[in-house]
Amino acid sequence: MTDASVKEKKLLDKIIRDEAEVSSDFRKANAFTGTMTALWEMWAEFHHEWKRITVASLITPFLYMVALGWGLGAMINTGDRPYIDFLVPGLVAMAGMNNGFTSVGMSFSTQRLYERSFDQVLISPTPLPSYIFGKMLGGALRGMYTGVLILLLSLIFGTSINVNGWFFLLMLLNGMVFSALGVLAALLAVTHADISRFSTFVIAPMTFLCNTMFPVDRMPVVVKGIINVLPLTHASGGLRGIAYGGGASWVNFVVLAAYAAAFMILTSIVLVKRRNL
């Protein structure tokens, strides 16, 4: 036997241990490790590309602030507050939605359909609902990161809005709703293009209609009724309430929490029951 093959043999003995030795090790995937794994995975994804993510996530809100805040905003009646104060909470809510949906949904769809790396998650002993919960949290944190950047950017535009712990809690819930929706959409997608289609049909309409850029009071009753049940309406309305110093309604929190829970349950059912993933 050559030195190299002796070394290889020793390595192999180290790598492949006896069953008794392996089972005596403490190792167990559980709900906590599942959530932390998903969070770590999203962190790894973020830290590779944080510069690009940061710049890309600020471009659209910046343009909205210039075009609507400085431009068209002067023509929109938002009561006794400047339009930019109305717009910024809406942009923060939008950022939570877009970042939650995109960072989780798009990435998840790539992992499932293109890279097929989700196979390893599916076969692993990690409890799948806890992994989904971690993805939801990670997506929400990405949304909050952009939200905070928007708040800082808005200072250039002279906003004076109130931000407190409830504001951040609402941002978190909003991000969790759309991250869970992103996972659900990615699980149901047959091709990667389905995610873009889903975004066009579901995310884009909410961007414009859900109390983000203009008040919905003057909408027809039926349209207003539909808009009022959508999650982004509750996020932007609640955030604006806090930003104006009046506080959010508990209804906003309950509706967002209910959406997040419903999407998570649905996603978990699909993950456990769907025959072909």
Binding site: E8, L11, L12, D13, K14, I15, I16, R17, D18, E19, V22, D25, F26, R27, K28, A29, N30, T33, M36, T37, W40, E41, A44, E45, H48, E49, Q111, E115, R116, S117, D119, Q120, V121, L122, I123, S124, P125, T126, P127, L128, L271, V272, K273, R274, R275, N276, L277
Partner: protein, 283 residues
Amino acid sequence: MIRIENICKKYPKSTQYALDNVSLQIEKGEAFGMLGPNGAGKTTLMSIITTLALPTSGNVYVDGEKVSRTRTDIKSKFSLVTQHVSIRKDMTVSEVMELAGRLYGMPLKQIKEKSDDILEFTGLIEKKKSVARGLSGGMQRKLMISRALLTEPRIIVLDEPTVGLDPHSRRKIWDLLISLKQKNITILLTTHYIEEAQNLCDRVALINKGKVSKIDTPERMIADLGEYTVDTFESGKLHSEFFFTKEEAYEYAKDIPGKTKIRETTLEDVFIKKMGTELGDEL
């Protein structure tokens, strides 16, 4: 022990069953090979065993326990090397390993130590900080094998693990599989390199059109066909005849005009004969 009971699998929009009432048993510590033509159902069966896909009907049991996506205790015994490359390509080699370890609840210290040993064995240690996207196809496959070893499975499922590997790396993987066998780890292997199955597997199943057509040891399969083969070349076409004794083979060969070759029968001959009979001239 893995017990596969009456597994049927039909994919949506397909008129045919990918697996049609498949039942078999794989003993603990056994190296079990699955051979069959493309589309025979081997990968589907592997996917069902590891819960990647769920069967239309039937069940899989490991040590008497029914396998499902929620049975995390059973799933912790498995590792899978898929036929397709299934790694996060935006992650570095060490991150890919860390993700696998975390998914199996391994402590971080153990992940890092074990990863280094495995990557050294598979020759990827120099690449541990490289992003997976930049690795060659062969290196990506080695990374998948490394990842499968990290979690110290009791059952390792390998779907064509050596595709795209150079001969040296392939031999190294063979050594690895032999070591896994020595440690009583159950191995499920599909491969198109039939020599690989012949050398490594205790038993093989021939699968065709979603059905198991034969299960036996490679030696018995070869003995049943005849241990000696006479190859004849007629009008540019290879024709093989099989014989139980060398004398019979020589007797036959001496009357054949033109070029003939007498050799030992291999599992590939069994495969071609069996599948050729079942598929007609499709092969």
